[in-house]
Symmetry: C2
């Protein structure tokens, strides 16, 4: 740089500082004495620009603290490199693990996650408009949508992947653990262990995952001619697992020898209630099974018998499906379903 | 709408559909026969525009499926309504709870979270450039930065709040649980319980939270003339809690009657190793304490003695501090520190 060029750059820098402004590509252009489109080209991978120009612009950009603006660029490329992840159910410790997994997989591809959390699965409508406004490239939906809401995304050409849910009526991509099959397997294991008096602790009534799991268990029980099953609604939390077992036995006067919980965390509460409130030996007097393969289920104090979702595979599959459809929106939807893995544990 | 106006709108709609494009404000303007700036004003709260104009534009926008674009708007308002949240440490189940809390608080203010997760606390440098490129309005940092990295944010006028960390050398906003004080309290409780042979299981060596906690414990122990303390490095996980206790006793041949763990999850592993591997009665033969107030610490199988961070208060404080500085960047940094709450549990 010549001295006078140098002075001019510092003048622009000073001016920006006084006005408390971030440097834009126009400021870099002005300071470097080149056009704004030349600056743009210097920061666009693969764009045609001379080595001398690139060097000069990068020097000036460094002095001014300029960084190409991902958001402005997204208006040109029509890619924001952001995806929305919509999750619900803060009482289920399982989902935070999913977040970490998804975040890792997206970050490896230079894509960032805009996080939308729902207090209740049924709140999803409120956030769809916001998802749209941020012009994300795609959406991972770990919450149930109505067909109308799915159409909203479809009409706006926003690729999305259902996580642990699917729709039979609207074509859509999804990644699931086979909840239905997993519960059938657990029922068969309980029957093999000579269990006779069954009860089920469900998740919240608006949880589609809980509904599918419980249908799987009930269908298998009915096939085996076991129709006298006590069902009680939980909310996926440890405390609801405890309280459900206590009220089932103390209030409903139904003493089960097999408890099927719609998730692991409730099953852990159920184990503690069985051991501490009722002084039952688990599994000698009562078998308790969960679903998920949540981290605490494997801890020595519990060693829960459960079906483990292959979380890493599922997260990776969801990211793959979504990114492929962002790259090429003409790809048809794809559904992938993974079998859960039986974790024998010590409560059956 | 007159018929011919109507027809014109449908023509624009058809054209967009054929080209597979989202409607922009220019498309709405063209279809409604008004200027683009009129359309902008119609979607800007408080802007001056006639009721007739607003009605007409909204009708057309509805037909075309137009929604004002949050990203384009951010280029004008210089606000993206996005904040970055940088977290590390996927082995610590405590942080997912923080995410849910922060997400709730930000969403209430119409602000969305862009999530950056780190495998290791020391990876933070790699993501600062990306944070900057997305032009977020502010950053919550639940990972340690060097002073140089802090200056990077400062020079770019990006407001940020340190979560559970602070800097003594660079002015910055922070929200913390008083780790130092909390550990001193735990040491005093252990001494009151007549404990004599102390050991410490730390977090990973790059965790500043672990370092502060362990300094607090060690300083108090030294004040009480207890200098013979065994220290072993864990990684915040359940398994490292188990293994650390086992290797301390079996390999280092040091049998403690008090174990201070840098977080709750390690303490739970430590309890299980004490009970199952060594057949110790907890707390009769050995006291074990943690730090955090993580959800599983209160489960009946553990009932861990710990110091609980006031998570909701801390998350709310971090959001308040950040949003105030986004609104008014001239506000000076503010540090808020909350005392942890002693949770007696049953392991001391």
């Amino acid at each position: 740089m010549t001295k006078s060029q140098d002075k001019h750059v510092l003048y622009v820098k000073e001016e920006l500082a006084q006005n408390n402004q971030r440097a834009t590509s126009y400021d870099v252009a002005r300071a470097a004495g080149v056009s704004q489109s030349a600056v743009s080209r210097c920061f666009k991978p693969g764009a045609s620009v001379s080595e001398k120009m690139r060097k000069r612009v990068q020097e000036v950009a460094t002095v001014l603290g300029y960084q190409p603006n991902a958001i402005a660029r997204s208006l040109i490329t029509r890619r924001s490199n952001m995806v929305a992840v919509v999750i619900n159910n803060d009482t289920n410790l399982y989902y935070p693990e999913l977040l970490v997994e998804l975040s890792r997989d997206f970050n490896e591809r230079g894509v960032h996650m805009l996080l939308f959390t729902l207090e209740h699965e049924s709140d999803v409508a409120n956030i769809l408009d916001q998802v749209w406004q941020y012009q994300v490239d795609g959406v991972i939906l770990a919450a149930q949508l109505s067909d109308t809401q799915l159409s909203f995304l479809g009409q706006r050409d926003i690729p999305f992947v259902y996580y642990n849910r699917t729709s039979d009526s609207i074509p859509c991509s999804s990644v699931q653990c086979d909840h239905f099959e997993g519960e059938r397997l657990l029922v068969d294991k309980l029957i093999a262990a000579k269990r006779k008096r069954f009860c089920i602790i469900t998740g919240p009534s608006d949880s589609s995952v809980s509904a599918t799991r419980m249908q799987g268990a009930l269908k298998r029980l009915h096939e085996l001619d076991i129709s006298d099953v006590q069902i009680i609604e939980g909310d996926y939390s440890y405390h609801s697992g405890q309280e459900s077992l206590i009220s089932m036995i103390d209030e409903l006067d139904w003493q089960p020898d097999a408890v099927i919980c719609a998730n692991d965390i409730m099953a852990l509460g159920c184990i503690d209630a069985a051991r501490n409130h009722f002084k039952f030996k688990v599994p000698k007097q009562i078998s308790i099974v969960g679903f998920d393969g949540a981290v605490p289920a494997s801890w020595q104090a519990y060693q829960l018998t459960t079906v483990t979702q292959p979380l890493e595979l599922m997260a990776q599959a969801a990211v793959d499906i979504l990114m492929q459809r962002i790259e090429d929106p003409s790809l048809p939807p794809e559904k992938r379903s993974f079998s859960g893995v039986f974790s024998p544990g010590n409560t059956l």
